[in-house]
Symmetry: C2
Subunit: 388 residues, 2 copies
């Protein structure tokens, strides 16, 4: 297939590089080294599920000026060649003698003077996707050039989405919403939860997802024990609350929201919890404005939940969203990231319903100058019941 | 759901730890630090798609004797609590002040004397799944304890599968084989390749996959440009060769094989290439024995392809398989890993068919004392035709 792999016109990627380079200049970085699937997709448009194989490292070098350089295994040359990137350097990976170390070192040595600084995301929510030994070899060979943390540089750019990106996330949310609307077709009492998860993934694909990177959920009388477990084989029971949460993907952009369903009549506890989650979200949506901090969102949601008579759950109550299932910032009491127009965020309040049981609720929004715009179609105010 | 999360009885995990500890003793390691989804699943049974979120690091510490310790975000406490691991230490992640650094440092300091050595996979095919800055803080705080490479220690254990693991991989291969059998139902001329990819994923789920972590493929007259691209919107055409490759997952175990289909009558080039790939595979299957090296497989497959009149493709011609889509070793001229009974491997010969076009063929096997046993049902000798 000679299909073009670019999701967006080259101009979109060029604008991203210009914004990154502005941040680099501010921090005095002579180049940026990127190794993660998301950072490489963001800068080049290189989109593949081949990241699933941990065998090979991939690199993009963003110089302080000019276009990025891809330093990649030759198996990716064809696909990267269909991107907007023109300078593509390849080696035959995996090579146990030298798995791109020399090629990457040479590329960085050309881009950065010996007294220069190379930015690398090393902070919260980042990983270095290459063997640590190889990184240490590159670092030693490039000395006296220094590697410095570039987490903030990358995050401040990636966290503000372009209109083209927002449209992609909205499209994925719309696909997921259609799949959620079909849950009553396959989530009846007696059906094993594992089968419900399978059918939900099938619904997501049928409705247009390219792939389904994340499904989690749970079911129980007054909620569920956690929100990250795969499905067990047990059947749904009349009186259960079923929660399904998905990160489906279209064109490399995720949604991340969930929905709750009552299998037959719900308990009063569950109905009250759902109402509290819904109203705390509604009130936070009304209050949210650019200039607030991530931790303000935690406070708004927590206070709202308490006001509506439930105990907030532990952990963060929302986060960023885009080309990974979750992005920074985190709605915790500790995160003082300023919220800016163009950020795509999830509001994800949770509350304790009974000993070891919780319920969660999640919506996706883009923050505009005058407040949030929903990307996920708003959940119903009343917990929907699947009649048995 | 109070479902147990263990895929295997605790005895299976205990046996893995004993084998790891034997390797650690040989190398003089006082503890092993594991951070990757696969290594953590392997040692604990902790299986979740939540790894899709890069927000939080997760750690398992294997001491030189005794049971492993999980040092994890509290969001995972419920699920890890259903595993065989009893010592679970949690913190509220993400925490920008200290995201598990102190808890991990304390755990390792208890397990390892100040003059001790901590093993960490740092070599080929490994990544450190935690922020680099946090690792450097842990390393500094734990000095004079030293971190040393434990790639081989982990690989020599994980690469030999138990019968329970082999049964899981066979089950996933069987699911994929049933999905491949349904390809003629949805891969007709005129259908967009993106739709074919979607239907293939739906077929994999319908046939029993828990999720589909990998689908790639391509289509063209005498083959395809690469084997890692997502589908483009273009339609299948009469005369195309369609290849679909999948890493579906059941109970955390992958298959990884592909199949080729002719959309209407195939060109002579494509039919000859398919025959060469099939026969080179057949002859390699007959020759393969424990004690050979990974590079012998590259030679056997390459020589076979040449003998059958085609030019071998670049890159590796097979690899390990298990709890990630690809595992070591690599069938390249450079990999001298000994092949041992119990290894699960893919044979993946590729050949050049015309300028910039290749065809590939892939089977999954387990190596037994007397040779390979197929896990993927053998592809047909003749390129199957989907009539248009």
């Amino acid at each position: 297939m000679a299909e073009r792999s670019l999701i967006f016109p080259a101009q979109e990627y060029r604008a991203r590089i210009v914004r990154l380079q502005a941040g680099m200049a501010e921090q005095g970085l002579d180049a940026l080294l990127l190794t993660s699937p998301a950072d490489i997709y963001y800068t080049t448009g290189f989109l593949t599920r081949f990241w699933e194989s941990p065998a090979r490292p991939w690199f993009v070098v963003v110089p302080h000026a000019g276009d990025p350089v891809a330093v990649i295994p030759s198996i990716g040359a064809d696909l990267m060649g269909r991107s907007w990137v023109r300078d593509i350097r390849t080696w035959d990976a995996p090579d146990p003698r030298d798995d791109g170390v020399s090629l990457l070192t040479d590329t960085l040595a050309q881009a950065v003077a010996p007294n220069g600084r190379i930015g690398l995301p090393m902070g919260l929510e980042t990983h270095l996707r290459m063997p640590l030994q190889d990184f240490e070899a590159v670092r030693m060979r490039l000395a006296p050039r220094r590697f410095v943390d570039a987490t903030a540089c990358v995050q401040r750019v990636r966290e503000v989405k372009s209109e083209a990106e927002i449209a992609k996330i909205r499209a994925t949310c719309t696909i997921a919403a259609r799949a959620f609307a079909r849950v009553p077709e396959f989530a009846q009492a007696g059906r094993p939860l594992a089968e419900v998860f399978r059918d939900f993934q099938i619904a997501l694909l049928s409705e247009g997802a390219d792939w389904v990177s994340y499904v989690a959920g749970g079911a129980g009388r007054d909620g569920y024990g956690d929100v990250i477990s795969p499905a067990g084989p047990g059947p749904l029971q009349c009186g259960d609350i079923l929660m399904l949460d998905t990160g489906a993907v279209k064109d490399g952009y995720f949604c991340d929201f969930d929905r709750n369903f009552a299998i037959g009549p719900a308990s009063d506890t569950a109905r009250r919890a759902h109402a509290a989650l819904w109203h705390a979200t509604e009130e936070t949506l009304a209050a949210l404005r650019p200039g607030m901090l991530a931790r303000d969102m935690h406070r708004l949601l927590s206070d709202g939940l308490r006001k509506h008579g439930v105990t907030p759950g532990d952990g963060r109550l929302g986060h960023g969203l885009g080309i990974t299932l979750t992005e920074w910032p985190s709605f915790t009491p500790l995160d003082d990231t300023p919220l800016r127009a163009g950020m795509v965020l999830t509001l994800e309040p949770s509350c304790v319903t009974s000993e070891g049981q919780i319920m969660v609720h999640e919506e996706n929004i883009v923050l505009r100058a005058d407040g949030p715009e929903l990307l996920s179609p708003r959940a119903p105010e009343e917990l929907p019941e699947i009649r048995t």
